[in-house]
Symmetry: C2
Amino acid sequence: MHSSIDFYFDFSSPYAYCASTRIDALGAEFGREVRWRPILLGPVFKQMGVAPLVEVPIKGRYALHDFARTAALFDIPYSHPERFPVATIGAARAMLWIDAQHGPAKAREFAHIVFRAYFAEGGDISQPEAVLAAARGAGLDSDAVAQGMQQEDIKAALKSGIEAATARGVFGAPFIFVDDEPFWGFDRFDYIRKWLRRQAAQAATAAREKTY
Amino acid sequence: MHSSIDFYFDFSSPYAYCASTRIDALGAEFGREVRWRPILLGPVFKQMGVAPLVEVPIKGRYALHDFARTAALFDIPYSHPERFPVATIGAARAMLWIDAQHGPAKAREFAHIVFRAYFAEGGDISQPEAVLAAARGAGLDSDAVAQGMQQEDIKAALKSGIEAATARGVFGAPFIFVDDEPFWGFDRFDYIRKWLRRQAAQAATAAREKTY
């Protein structure tokens, strides 16, 4: 039994959105579960003293071009949001409550709907109504979700989740840990594959050496 | 006849070093020449108001890990330099002079030796002696190179080359233009492949439509 893969993301990150469409398939290739962990990049960037990518001169313009091109090259529907980036604290809290109440599969279903709403359907997921519409789309009672995302324990869980992420070295999104190996970016998916294959090859060699 | 690919790099960039080992093969896959264009990241970062990658809190530590891991995953010899990053103005000027005097093939041979000296053999390429040793390794007269890299026209060529690069949108290394499409990073090589294949497919479709 292999350990799981941790997938950290902010709902407002285009590269995290791209990653969200591929991460479970990547995990499945290697027989690993993926744990989806919503975080907020705002507090992370603040701690690091860096600006959001699109606000960096020159690089920001390239990033806007690269978001849409990356999605296109991987056949992922993408329409750059009118408001970008936006606050995703509501969506992140809702996901944590859904996970706690209905389990990770339902939380993931909700997450896919939120990402799609923001990056493919022109929705503004900083608005509570958009978050609740996503919840309804996942077959959930939106009144229960509206109440759940206001719970103190859920608020605290998001806060401590972000603290744990930064303590682990997360500084952007998507950020993926395979065992304790950190990978930053959708552009590291092939590196993760190479890395996991090497680990498997090394384990096989070690097992053979033990036998002789 | 396809147009060429422009490959911008700083001799002090680990990802540019990785790219330097693969860029010509990438060009050859699509029948394109690669133009190697040495630049200096120092003035580029200064203009953008950003710090070198390894100086950014948290992210810098990850980058150090990712440099060596990336090289290992692609079977590129790598030993992180004791002094990093270093000034590469001498190496860049020498390359421009070699290119002007002996042509791009010789300049490229020199560039490979410089990259290898810095990232695989423990050399300090900020030192003139290391630059001249690389020139000798490429079969060049090091006295001529030493004199050439001090020429005013060569100094001016590097300066204007960097200005042209930033005007074109270069903000890091490696930075690659395929026609006018910009790609930043060794991790974009597969994206370049995808992009070029799509261009070829679109051109083929357009040609078919013209025929009917």
